[in-house]
């Protein structure tokens, strides 16, 4: 058996696939780029100090900003001229955020993904040296985490995780970026994964892929076998691609509410992080581009493109009508003026109808049936409408995995995911009654000595 089969989780739903338009389209560079706003960091707190002046000429791959605490270095994706220091909006887990950016104009022609020759033998060094090598390449953590990769790796190493999973599920409709990267540059991705496994000193390294796509991944079987990576084919029931569900299916451990999968000893990385990691550590190429899928019924040109960071997402679907969204349709945000970052895996121009006004909850219970966290979403919606935070806490609002299935199935078109997400954030911020009492000064609780 080339790919092993694995288990299931409760809830979830079969989404329409919608990937045919871009599944076979190879990765090509985006045609013509006139202006880039390269963001200096992905979170609101990250900062970097600038190494270039306005009107200075920079070459491709030149470092334009060095990281301060908690940020990653920033490199120029293409050769060009620094026009000014501006602001750019980037997509974070909470929506759009405005971060400082460097505007580049007068750019060189974009190039495809260049084959690079290895300059560093990663297998001859110790894991500690390897962990030190990860920093400095402008790499950020997997998914939408704004941490630099070396900080993320240190955190994962400190947790003594025992399983490393490469998440190649990509089970949102339309998105095929990871799939194409694995098809075309699978060997490099696998080497990056093996390198990360060595750096974290993890024995059990898994590759989880969609069972419908594994026929396309024949190229990676050789390298994966060489590095002892176990390959697992999983069914495509959404949201199996989310880290908590993947952990549950592969290891039968459940992520604690409000925690991360590292709390149960599992590290999950995505394909583009492994690819960028290999190219930085072994070939010395910093991360300045990523593969993004451009698709949707209203997109003028569908395909998988190698886009530089700082490219305005709107230009990828120029001329398309709203809504234009960044990311997979289940957890995307509306694109606005966002620029591409390491987390931008898709820019979609969907043929979504205008939203109907939400009706009253008819208590059909479909949200509860399909919730992968087994939450009673209908009761949480009641708690939201009545403003009952403690009830939401008792119902387990913090266990929400933010997959979007409840909103997807809701026949009353209620924004359930947004509501539960907001409850989750609020419940996480407000302490429980007992914790609030314990943290109060003693004279306020009425139990003081004086």
């Amino acid at each position: 058996m080339i790919f092993r089969r694995y288990g299931q989780f409760t809830g979830g739903i079969d989404l329409p696939d919608e990937k045919d338009a871009t599944l076979e389209s190879p990765i090509v560079p985006w045609r013509r780029i006139e202006r880039l706003c390269v963001p200096l960091g992905r979170g609101a707190s990250a900062s970097a100090h600038l190494l270039v002046r306005p009107a200075q000429r920079v070459s491709a791959g030149e470092k334009i900003a060095a990281s301060d605490a908690g940020g990653a270095d920033v490199f120029a994706p293409l050769a060009g001229t620094v026009a000014s220091l501006t602001k750019a909006s980037v997509v974070t887990g909470e929506g759009l955020a405005s971060v400082p950016a460097v505007e580049l104009t007068d750019l060189s022609a974009p190039s495809p993904i260049m084959p690079l020759s290895p300059t560093f033998d990663w297998r001859s060094v110790s894991p500690q040296t390897l962990r030190g090598q990860i920093g400095g390449g402008g790499l950020t953590g997997p998914g939408s985490s704004p941490l630099p990769l070396e900080v993320w790796v240190r955190k994962a190493f400190g947790r003594k995780c025992r399983t490393l999973v490469l998440n190649a599920m990509e089970n949102q409709p339309y998105v095929t970026a990871d799939h194409r990267l694995l098809v075309e540059h699978g060997a490099e991705v696998i080497r990056g994964l093996a390198m990360l496994g060595t750096a974290l000193q993890i024995r059990s390294v898994l590759l989880a892929a969609d069972i419908r796509r594994i026929d396309d991944y024949r190229e990676i079987i050789g390298p994966a076998r060489m590095y002892g990576i176990e390959r697992i084919a999983l069914p495509h029931k959404y949201p199996i691609g989310l880290p908590p569900m993947l952990t549950k299916v592969l290891t039968r451990r459940e992520m604690p509410p409000g925690g991360s999968v590292m709390d149960v000893g599992v590290v999950i990385v995505d394909v583009s992080t492994c690819f960028a990691l290999y190219r930085w550590v072994v070939c010395g190429q910093p991360q300045t581009h990523r593969v993004a899928t451009v698709a949707g019924e209203r997109a003028p040109q569908c395909g998988n493109f190698w886009i530089p960071f700082g490219l305005a997402c709107r230009t990828l679907v120029a001329g398309a009508q709203e809504p234009i969204i960044c990311g997979g349709p289940m957890d995307a945000v509306r694109c606005g003026s966002a620029v591409a970052t390491a987390a931008t895996n898709a820019v979609l121009a969907l043929d979504a109808p205008l939203p109907a006004p939400p009706g009253p909850c008819i208590r059909c219970g479909w949200c509860t049936d399909h919730c992968p966290a087994r939450l009673n979403v209908a009761a949480l919606n009641d708690a939201f409408e009545l403003g009952l935070l403690q009830r939401a806490r008792r119902l387990g609002a913090r266990a929400c995995v933010e997959c979007g299935v409840c909103s997807y199935v809701c026949p009353a078109r209620l924004p359930l995911t947004a509501r539960v997400k907001q409850l989750k954030r609020t419940v996480g911020r407000v302490p429980t009654n007992r914790a609030a009492l314990a943290s109060m000064p003693k004279d306020q609780t009425g139990r003081g000595e004086s």
């Binding site: 969907l350 059909c364 387990g396 026949p411």
Partner: protein, 419 residues
């Protein structure tokens, strides 16, 4: 608490972008909407309704039309008067009207469906806040109201024949007048009895009445122990088939028995209910729990057979008291002779008034079935299954708060405080 606004748009955002500001992830949605859901349920409920129209003639169609019209008019009137926004108004009012018609007999006078519709829409639905907020299934509340207000009109269409209701004869289906009745002598089952000369409908005793008569010998004709072999010299194997007075069971399956409009044709009810299960509008666990608990209660609940001259005989465990075959027939007759199937597939599964979680629905179904059969066996209430559903609807909020599935990442022990 209110929905958090999206991050502010750029000042120069085009107007179209602002229109889409309200859209949030997910950007793909399942096609089914609340309205389609009601309309499909309505379509399924039309199955028993059509069977009722075939079996009871144009009187049934009139009752249905009156009840649907009454529901729609009451809904429009309420929202016109209170100026409340009518959300999901007409489709759900239609559904309520059809469901209400299914619970009424075909011979009721014209004002009964109208009064029931007014109660269903205004008292049971609108006052509670409309779809999604009512506690009791509205159609059943309407049925309960008319059962209290017009007890005679609903139970005795022909005062000269107590407990006898009409059904069209097999050769006068759909076309006959159900009020043009005659009692037939030597009734051999609906399928074998043609219409008596000069009449369209047969006047028959309700199977429920016959079954109740086994226990309460008000009418000596129904006495269970009348031809019961007694004494020490009973022939082994001769079973006191008191049920021999009942119609053949195929009549109960096809609907050739007197009863309310939608409850008689078991085959159509089951097919329509299974369609709802297939569409995922009804979880199979709920009707199954309803029927299973009803069967279990019937199998073990003791009955007291009564005969003339104050002779009584208590039967413990009716399923096995006289052999499994007699017990099976007894349970089947009890299940098919009342409105149990209709209640299990169409009324207990009303989304707003049942629990949300699957486990809660199983508890709800078990409670409904047991309560319905206990009411039917031991208390003389009209439409016991509907009453049981209403009673369990009252407990729905309690079931919802008691039964909580284990939340992802929280152990069973910490279930009470997953936060």
């Amino acid at each position: 608490m209110t929905d958090r606004a999206e991050p502010s748009l750029d000042a120069a955002a085009p107007a179209e972008m602002r229109r889409f500001a309200a859209i949030r992830a997910p950007f793909v949605r399942a096609p089914e909407r609340a309205r389609t859901l009601f309309l499909v349920t309505l379509g399924a409920a039309c199955g028993p309704l059509l069977a009722g129209v075939a079996l009871f003639g144009y009187h049934a169609a009139m009752v249905a039309a009156l009840s649907v019209t009454g529901c729609i008019v009451a809904e429009q009137l309420y929202y016109r008067v209170t100026r409340a926004p009518a959300l999901l108004g007409r489709s759900h009012a239609c559904l309520t009207g059809v469901l209400l018609a299914l619970t009424l007999p075909a011979f009721v006078p014209w004002y009964v469906p109208l009064v029931a519709a007014a109660f269903a829409i205004i008292v049971a639905k609108a006052v509670f806040g409309g779809v999604g907020h009512f506690l009791w299934q509205p159609a059943l509340v309407g049925r309960l109201a008319v059962a209290v207000l017009f007890p005679v009109a609903l139970t005795m269409p022909f005062p000269s024949h107590r407990n006898a209701w009409p059904v069209l004869a097999r050769d006068k289906l759909l076309t006959g007048d159900v009020m043009n009745v005659r009692r037939v002598q030597n009734y051999k089952g609906w399928q074998k009895t043609p219409a008596p000369p000069g009449a369209d409908a047969l006047l028959l005793n309700q199977p429920t009445t016959i079954l109740n008569g086994l226990m309460k010998p008000a009418d000596p004709a129904f006495s269970a122990l009348a031809n019961l072999p007694s004494g020490p010299d009973v022939v082994p194997g001769a079973k006191p088939t008191a049920l021999s007075q009942l119609p053949p069971i195929s009549d109960l399956l096809y609907g050739g028995r007197p009863g309310s409009l939608g409850e008689t044709c078991a085959v159509v009810i089951v097919i329509a209910g299974l369609y709802l299960v297939y569409r995922n509008y009804v979880k199979w666990q709920l009707p199954l729990a309803f029927l299973a608990s009803a069967c279990c209660v019937l199998a073990i609940a003791p009955i007291c057979l009564a005969g003339p001259n104050q002779v009584t005989k208590t039967v413990w465990y009716p399923l096995v008291a006289e052999g499994l075959d007699v017990g099976f027939v007894y349970v089947s007759y009890q299940i098919l002779s009342c409105e149990l199937l209709l209640a299990a597939f169409f009324f207990a599964t009303e989304m707003t008034s049942r629990p949300v979680t699957t486990g809660g629905q199983v508890i709800f179904g078990l409670g409904c079935g047991a309560l319905a059969m206990l009411l039917k066996l031991y208390l003389d209430v009209p439409v016991p299954c509907f009453m049981a559903v209403l009673a369990m609807n009252t407990l729905t909020p309690a079931i919802d708060s008691i039964w909580r599935p284990r939340v992802f990442g929280c152990g069973w022990i910490r279930r009470r405080q997953p936060g």
